[in-house]
């Protein structure tokens, strides 16, 4: 068992580094967990990766899995809190200054100029997810049904997603 303080410090540093995108995390965590501290075998690391992608949380939920391995439930808690602290603090700082920044002409107009690119990125996410998970007629039918429900009804997403999960379990 590794001390909680060590775990806290390790994950806090990782949290500082992963500003910039989730996928930087995979090689970084692999290096730290598997090669440096030997908390996990490579196989366990990959299983943990699959497992954290099953959840709605970001990829960094891998911290919970690896933290659990390193220090049980308290380890998981400390690791999760510490890995997310830097980005939450950063985002709170953005939120705090947002209204002030937005009033500065050049920043406001740049932000607005960005928005079409954001739309492009949202569409790209749908595309990328589609390429990896739409494999048959069944999936396309579920997609069409989901699209229609979200486009033309006001049903809240939770119900649709949970329903789709049940459909997925029954069909597979």
């Amino acid at each position: 068992m590794t001390s909680l303080l060590t775990i806290a410090w390790i994950y806090f540093r990782i949290g500082l580094m992963f500003v910039g995108g989730g996928y930087v995390l995979i090689p970084l965590l692999n290096h730290i967990m598997v090669e440096q501290y030997r908390w996990l075998t490579l196989r366990q690391f990959l299983d943990g990766l699959a497992l954290s992608q099953l959840t709605p949380g970001p990829l960094a939920m891998l911290a919970t899995f690896t933290g659990f391995r390193a220090g049980g439930f308290p380890g998981a808690l400390v690791a999760t809190v510490c890995i997310f602290t830097p980005c939450v603090v950063l985002m709170l700082a953005v939120g705090r200054n947002y209204n002030r920044l937005r009033k500065i002409d050049i920043i406001g107009s740049t932000l607005d100029g960005l928005l079409p690119a954001v739309v492009g990125l949202v569409a790209a996410a749908a595309w990328n997810l589609g390429v990896s998970s739409l494999s048959g007629v069944k999936e396309f039918l579920i997609l069409a049904a989901g699209f229609a429900i979200f486009k033309w009804t006001k049903v809240t997403p939770m119900i649709v997603i949970l329903g789709a999960g049940v459909v997925g379990l029954l069909l597979n």
Partner: protein, 185 residues
């Protein structure tokens, strides 16, 4: 802080983001699409523009699903709101991963949850497409913004560029074009 007419209670923020964190299978943009649907459309907690600005910042600054929740929470109730939204969102995944980790390290195998995801993934794609269409209708006016959206899409899908780089490039483009417009006009 926001100038909302009615103050949203911290409990309400926590519960909303817990439910999102509990059902937003698919992660990343699935969460963004859900927060858009619920906090912009259903509850009117934050305007579409402000939400998209938050998303742009969030994509540059790391795990954007979490960042969008923090941003929205902060918009509603300041620092406390932001922290509560972030904790509410991560909490269900944390419990789930802890439970699954315990099962995994005890029995050395993963539970079969993938089958359920086969059903949820296509629905999530549907939700993201709808959100993209709605956002596009509001934000894409004229040829240059349509072109920018297409280039961003292509850069992400075909060149596999990181979202942060795409957005920094778009910001640079936006600054240059407004500079040129000011010079000419």
């Amino acid at each position: 802080m926001s100038d909302n007419v009615k103050r949203v209670s911290l409990t309400d923020i926590f519960l909303t983001f817990t439910v999102i964190g509990l059902t937003g299978f698919g992660g990343g943009m699935a969460i963004v699409a859900m927060v858009e649907r619920i906090c912009v459309r259903e509850k009117g907690w934050i305007s579409a523009e402000e939400f998209m600005h938050g998303l742009a910042f969030g994509q540059i600054l790391g795990p954007f699903s979490l960042n969008v929740c923090t941003f929205t929470g902060h918009h509603l109730r300041g620092i406390r709101g932001g922290i509560i939204a972030a904790v509410g969102f991560i909490f269900p995944s944390f419990l789930l991963v802890s439970l699954l980790s315990w099962i995994y390290f005890t029995y050395n195998k993963l539970p079969q949850l993938q089958a359920a995801l086969k059903g949820t993934n296509p629905v999530i794609i549907g939700l993201i497409v709808v959100v993209a269409i709605d956002m596009g209708r509001k934000q894409i006016k004229g040829k240059s913004s349509a072109l920018l959206a297409l280039v961003a899409f292509g850069a992400s899908v075909f060149l596999k560029l990181n979202a942060a780089w795409v957005l920094l490039g778009a910001a640079f483009w936006s600054i240059c074009s407004s500079y040129v417009r000011r010079r000419l006009g």
